[in-house]
């Protein structure tokens, strides 16, 4: 065990504050993302009202002390609906990123490791999936499986596999030609051991960055599906659906019902993009 030498002992106290001062954009993005996740996790505890609580006397109430973001066309509290809406709005893309991440990594590493025939077949299959824009695939899924939360999440999980698999494959091919892999092979390490214990940890930063970027895209795609009325149905609280629900209110001069959830979508996507960019910088990755 070697001792750690430091010119100056870094103070733990205030480290976060100093980091925030160095990069205020990153700090803001982190705050927005943390706030959104907290809202999703603790929605029933935080939300001041029932998201489905109709109040005929409070229709289109302006922002006030009682209703910070006002009320919608049915007198429901907009802030409570945004807080509860964070659940499906964030859980959907999280599932998409998780499933497509596992599948894409597995296929990408497999294509790179086995090469030859396997690589050719996998790459061709991925190319076919790549021919479908994610949104179009989600619309087809709605026709086949009907509306709801699950169908668009499942098909987007598939639609997002090729991009990740291609990135992982390219990186894994580069990695597999490095001397350490050959050294491990000479030591008698098996293929799965090398892939799981050595290759994957080295690819992890790349996968993390790509997944962060993918989360933003998946959020936009899923919100768009709900906006089009092909995902969750009223009276569910989901940001894309809330925007669609608020369209007639917008025309009637009450924009809050649609524009507040729209602002939430943009805020979360911007912060996720900033986080992805900073992560890429930290790992020394170049945006393709």
């Amino acid at each position: 065990m070697s001792a750690i030498h430091a010119e100056r002992v870094p103070a733990v106290r205030g480290a976060l504050r100093r980091a925030a001062a160095r990069d205020p954009l990153l700090a803001a993005a982190g705050c927005v993302a943390a706030l959104a996740v907290a809202a999703a996790v603790a929605a029933p505890l935080i939300a001041p009202y029932d998201p489905a609580g109709v109040d005929q006397l409070e229709v289109f109430g302006p922002p006030s002390a009682a209703h910070w973001l006002g009320t919608d066309d049915l007198g429901r509290d907009v802030l409570s609906r945004i807080i509860h809406g964070a659940r499906p709005t964030l859980a959907g893309p999280a599932l998409v990123v998780l499933v497509s991440g596992v599948l894409g990594t597995a296929l990408g590493v497999a294509a790179a490791w086995f090469g030859g025939r396997t690589d050719a077949v996998l790459s061709r299959a991925l190319e076919v999936v790549l021919a479908f824009p994610g949104l179009v695939l989600a619309v087809i899924a709605a026709a086949v499986l009907g509306t709801g939360f699950a169908a668009p999440v499942v098909v987007l999980s598939i639609a997002y596999v090729p991009v990740l698999a291609r990135v992982v494959r390219a990186a894994a091919i580069r990695e597999a030609h490095l001397p350490y892999v050959e050294a491990l092979r000479l030591q008698g390490a098996s293929g799965p051991t090398i892939c799981l214990r050595h290759l994957l940890p080295n690819l992890a930063p790349l996968i993390l960055v790509q997944s962060t970027v993918g989360f933003g895209y998946a959020l936009l795609d899923l919100a768009a599906v709900n906006f089009l009325g092909l995902g969750l149905q009223p009276p569910a609280a989901e940001w894309g659906l809330m925007i669609a629900d608020g369209r007639s209110a917008v025309l009637g001069g009450h924009p809050g019902q649609a524009l507040f959830p729209a602002a939430a979508v943009v805020a979360v996507v911007v912060s996720v993009n900033v986080l992805g960019e900073r992560l890429a910088d930290r790992f020394g990755l170049v945006e393709a």
Binding site: R124, E127, V128, A131, F132, P133, G134, L135, V136, V139, I140, A142, A143, V144, L145, T147, G216, L220, A223, A224, F227, L228, G229, L230, G240, I243, A244, G246, R247, V250, L251, G253, P255, A258, L259, A262, V265, V266, V269, V270, N273
Partner: protein, 314 residues
């Protein structure tokens, strides 16, 4: 490898991909739960003779592969079946709306190319203040999806400004131009920001490259350096990205057409999916996939041919 065999191989790859995609689309919608004959009959409880007649007419009792072949043959000969909702040929439904959507895509594409390239070049060549302002603006715009921009524009123009119509597609060239301006802007904004960012990065990269330094050392006027040495070299990556965003527009039309009540192919796809009008969904998804893949292949091939450094064998 010569150019002809390269082009042939790309074309063959395109055809194979589309063939596989058509199989996936047909297979997916074939597997949908529910009886298509009952859907076509449209009634609450059609009697068995009617159902049998419909099954015979639409060849619903044929084996899967035969039905697929029949559909594919119809697609290739311009007869993609009959809509269960509209009770007319799908080809006619598409033909009625194709001009509107093509206009919208072309309009948005023109906005993206003009504004994206212009702003990106300006951000790279202008002063630091210009660059910073445009970077912030494009970052914000890039994260604004079409459905958010559309809602914002509808609010602004329907209740505040009233300069442009927020509903319908209009008729005639001037009417279309007027009605489709806001949908095109909503569709184009985030893509424009993306193209502007890529342009800025590409132009900046060229500005700092050795050959530009050499050109400046030779005493060439700045305008000539920018035109001949910077912009020309920055064109390749910018073209690739512009092509890819153009391909992405086809899917985005669904959102803005729905938002602005434009009766085009995108809104037809969404409404047909909601009503499970399978013949329309199949034909339109095949159309979008074809357009998307064809543009992607063209961009890919063009950039490979223009820049010999891009490896052609993949």
């Amino acid at each position: 490898m010569n150019v002809i065999s390269f082009a042939l191989r790309r074309a063959l790859g395109l055809v194979l991909t589309l063939f596989a995609a058509s199989f996936l689309i047909f297979g997916g919608l074939y597997a949908a739960p529910g009886d298509p004959a009952a859907l076509l009959a449209g009634g609450q409880r059609p009697n068995p003779e009617v159902l049998a007649a419909i099954r015979a007419e639409y060849r619903l009792d044929d084996p899967f592969l035969l039905q697929y072949g029949h559909w594919l043959a119809g697609l290739l000969t311009g007869d993609p079946g009959t809509s269960a909702v509209y009770r007319t040929g799908v080809g006619g439904l598409i033909a009625e709306r194709a001009a509107t959507t093509a206009f919208l895509v072309a309009y948005a594409g023109a906005l993206i190319i003009a504004a994206g390239l212009g702003l990106g070049t300006l951000a790279a060549l202008g002063g630091p203040a210009v660059g910073r302002t445009l970077t912030v603006a494009t970052s914000a715009a890039q994260a604004a999806p079409p459905f958010v921009v559309a809602t914002l524009l509808i609010w602004l123009f329907a209740t505040r400004l009233g300069w442009l119509p927020v509903y319908g597609a209009g008729s005639g060239f001037a009417g279309r131009l007027e009605h489709l301006t806001l949908p095109a802007v909503a569709l184009a904004l985030s893509f424009t920001a993306y193209v502007a960012r890529v342009t800025r990065t590409a132009v900046r990269g060229e500005l700092h490259s050795d050959h530009v330094g050499t050109a400046e050392a030779r005493g060439l006027p700045r305008a000539a350096v920018v035109r001949r040495h910077v912009l020309r070299n920055a064109a390749a990556p910018v073209m690739t990205v512009s092509g890819l965003t153009l391909a992405g527009l086809f899917a985005g039309t669904a959102i803005v057409e729905e938002a602005f009540g434009v009766n085009g192919l995108g809104s037809l796809l969404v409404q047909s999916a909601a009503r499970q009008d399978m013949a329309v969904v199949m034909a339109l998804s095949m159309l979008i996939v074809t357009a998307f893949t064809a543009v992607n292949t063209l961009v890919d091939a063009a950039s490979a041919l223009l820049d010999p450094r891009v490896p052609q064998v993949r």
